[in-house]
Symmetry: C2
Subunit: 106 residues, 2 copies
DNA sequence: TAAATTATTGGTAAAATTACCAACAAACCA
DNA sequence: TGGTTTGTTGGTAATTTTACCAATAATTTA
């Protein structure tokens, strides 16, 4: 894999994480697997909108899904995303006030 | 700060990281501070394009800049971004072949 | 001070993302 | 089988992002 493909791939995954709705879905799934309907009920958006957000997360390899009866169960595949988000919060702290150090930056 | 503001802020910062050009700039700055002209020379884009990418990174608090003579020196403010990217690469590995575990997921 | 060099800003067109509605597909139940 | 529930897919309009060109600002040098 060449350097440009690598950076494009990274970009795709990070973009998948970057949307507010998808961030909230990731946090919710971090608590445990959820039905589509449970995720849908967190928001005021159309079903199709949430479904498409989930598809983006799936295509990025961040979540997986399996059918169970009428329901669809969603699962967070990559728990490290959460630590990733903690780091982002440190960036925020750093920006707001340059006193809080990123815990991941030893 | 309420939950929605928090998620919007996270989103903004992650979006700032998500672009291929900005990812490459971050990696380059991780090696050390760089002049604008050095960063500009990495790409085939217009000066103004690179300048605007840098502005987005600055607004997100990821890089800072200071003038030195005619040049502008750019600096990576938040080194933890790099570990963040390592995690992303684990997501990629996970997706490609579910054998490699994310090192950050203990 | 005038000219040259470096980087940023303003404006705009093209491309990508997002959210809705409608139609559809899959699984269940009467 | 026909109807109901659940979630996805297709199409489209609105918004956001991106990259270029031109003009501007800041600094140095002649």
């Amino acid at each position: 894999m060449n350097k440009f493909d690598a950076v494009e791939l990274r970009s795709k995954i990070i973009k998948a994480i970057a949307h507010p709705v998808r961030l909230m879905i990731i946090e919710e799934l971090n608590k445990g697997d959820k039905l589509f309907s449970q995720l849908f009920n967190l928001f005021d958006f159309d079903k199709s909108t949430i479904s498409k957000h989930l598809l983006i997360l799936k295509n990025a390899g961040i979540v997986s899904s399996k059918k169970k009866g009428l329901d669809m169960i969603y699962k967070l595949e990559t728990k490290c995303i959460i630590k990733f988000l903690n780091c982002i919060d440190r960036v925020i702290s750093h920006s707001i006030k340059k006193t809080v150090k990123c815990m991941m930056c030893k």
